[in-house]
Symmetry: C2
Subunit: 341 residues, 2 copies
């Protein structure tokens, strides 16, 4: 492609410039997981939209329509979770190729409906269109969060500790399992494949952190820690240090990395689509974290680094430091026929 | 395609069934131009989403990126207009093929931004994704309407008169001009081409009708009168009679129809994408209509029929009657490589 250089981040920055300053009731606009609106009342309204496109975000040879319905909601709910919010309503736009079996569109609807029930929200409208080449799905979700509880990518302080709600790299490893012929037994495969096909938005953890005021900043992991932590750093005006030995991995991720001859940290930090929450905690509140999660019946979060002055995301291995910010996936730099996790 | 039969209308009905009953604060869900939410306060919040897909809704050989930015907002604003509402905020999801010049994505942004300024609303966030084949654009818009003013597809009464805000078939004729080599002079072409590339959502007329309580039901014309009037009839539990000689045509539409050897009424009633408003007026309020429009500086609306008991849309030509409901375009029945207006 010719111009502008810099791919998606640069494109969004220039589009954002064109679109100008939003009115004052728009508390957050372009640059966070959701837009946040003050429409009166005790809550901010959270509003997000995300698109999944066939051959970019998924392939039908491994992604059943039912799971696609679930995942297309999950990736939007994850944005609501990242603000500490509660999802309420969704609209769906489904692009379906006329040559494909419409039974698949109904399976998509079944998955979407099941997922909406599970998260106690309602899909209240939408649009279906013919799509000439592949399936495309856009969902938009409205949710809310009490005004004094909202979390964003901003707000982290130097010295804050960096946590993640779950192990990393499972989705990327699961995609490798789905694509290839890796010799893993079924028990090892299952959690990886599920992480990729049916990610669970961390709504309960997000609400807990917001309500108990335990976090200072938060983002959900869609593109991978390397990229997503960079967003959080930029919005907070800080850098971050990740401790390689603290990055939470599972035996499945280690095994897939070994079979692929890849560094498991690469899968974990740049794989993307884990939809866990990455958040910062002031040291003084760290003690309360494990008990709060345990009392809420949630998995304990994992400490994996700290926020520091600066502009870079550093990976610390023993005494070695490596800059990893900017290494994350950029949609506009890859061939779309490659998988774009 | 195999099942279910019946195309888009049937698909939406079955998806709607799967998604179940919305909660009570959802005043309108699937089945109207917008969802309507009671979030407290004196207004209902209106929420809509619409998608434009390359080679289905437009072709880049005649649709400049700047106009695409404008039109993608216009089709959403038209839904807000149809409820009598005022648009406030939008999110945009732009799918752009990595092989295309990103300068086009910025031109799209310029058109979108210009249109947003024109209608005094703000695009406050969104998403960009790589699209493997063609451009796809989804916008979602939030607006509002005072609770006691909202108009929907329901509410028409037998005997109500049927009006439209402007002449019909210009967009379909404009598309024929853009596609073909019709021997029209530039002055004749211009309004047709503009109607197709840069439709103007009838927000002022929609607000006027809502505020002055002059209409009982309303819908915007995206698929064509034949299809859209059928939606209004169904939601109101009525039929309608259209008087052929009253259908507002322009000399340009007549000329294009003649050059194509087509019935101009066919262009006008099934062409689609006019984005005028079709609305019903109780006979007792008809006298007030022309003055209200004139005082607001708006074009006079055109009377073109009446609502009657029944379930059909009839076109009346002299003493002949023809059923035209169901003749409208159904996205899932056409080859997507055909133009889908």
């Amino acid at each position: 492609m010719s111009s502008p250089p810099g791919g998606e981040v640069e494109l969004i920055a220039r589009l954002s410039q064109l679109l100008g300053e939003p009115p004052s009731e728009v508390i957050l606009g372009i640059g966070d997981d959701c837009a946040a609106l003050d429409l009166g009342g005790p809550d901010y309204w959270l509003w997000t939209m995300d698109t999944l496109i066939e051959e970019v975000h998924f392939h039908t040879d491994y992604m059943p329509s039912y799971q696609l319905g679930r995942k297309s909601l999950a990736v939007n709910l994850s944005d609501i979770a990242a603000m500490g919010g509660e999802p309420l309503y969704a609209l769906v736009s489904l692009g379906w190729p006329p040559g494909r079996d419409l039974a698949g569109a109904l399976e998509f609807g079944e998955g979407l409906a099941a997922s909406a029930r599970e998260y106690q929200m309602a899909v209240i409208g939408g649009d279906t269109v013919a799509s000439p080449e592949g399936i495309s799905v856009t969902l938009t979700v409205l949710g809310r969060v009490p005004k004094n509880e909202m979390l964003g990518r901003f707000g982290a302080k130097a010295g804050d500790r960096l946590y993640v709600t779950g192990p990393l790299g499972l989705s990327a490893a699961g995609l490798e399992v789905l694509k290839g012929n890796l010799s893993l037994d079924e028990k090892e495969k299952a959690p990886l494949v599920q992480a990729h096909l049916d990610p669970r938005p961390q709504l309960a953890a997000g609400r807990l952190l917001a309500k108990e005021k335990l976090a200072t900043a938060m983002i959900d992991l869609s593109d991978g820690v390397a990229t997503d932590l960079m967003h959080l750093c930029r919005q907070s005006g800080l850098g971050a240090r990740l401790w390689a030995e603290a990055v939470p991995l599972t035996s499945g991720v280690l095994k897939v990395a070994a079979l692929l001859n890849r560094d498991p940290l690469d899968l974990a930090l740049t794989g993307g689509e884990d939809y866990e929450l990455l958040f910062t905690v002031p040291p003084v509140l760290e003690d309360r974290l494990p008990r709060a999660f345990a009392q809420a019946g949630l998995r304990p979060p994992h400490l994996l680094g700290e926020m520091v002055p600066g502009e870079e995301v550093l990976l610390i291995t023993g005494k070695k430091e490596k800059i990893i910010s900017g290494r994350g996936y950029d949609h506009f730099r890859l061939d779309p026929r490659e998988e774009s996790v």
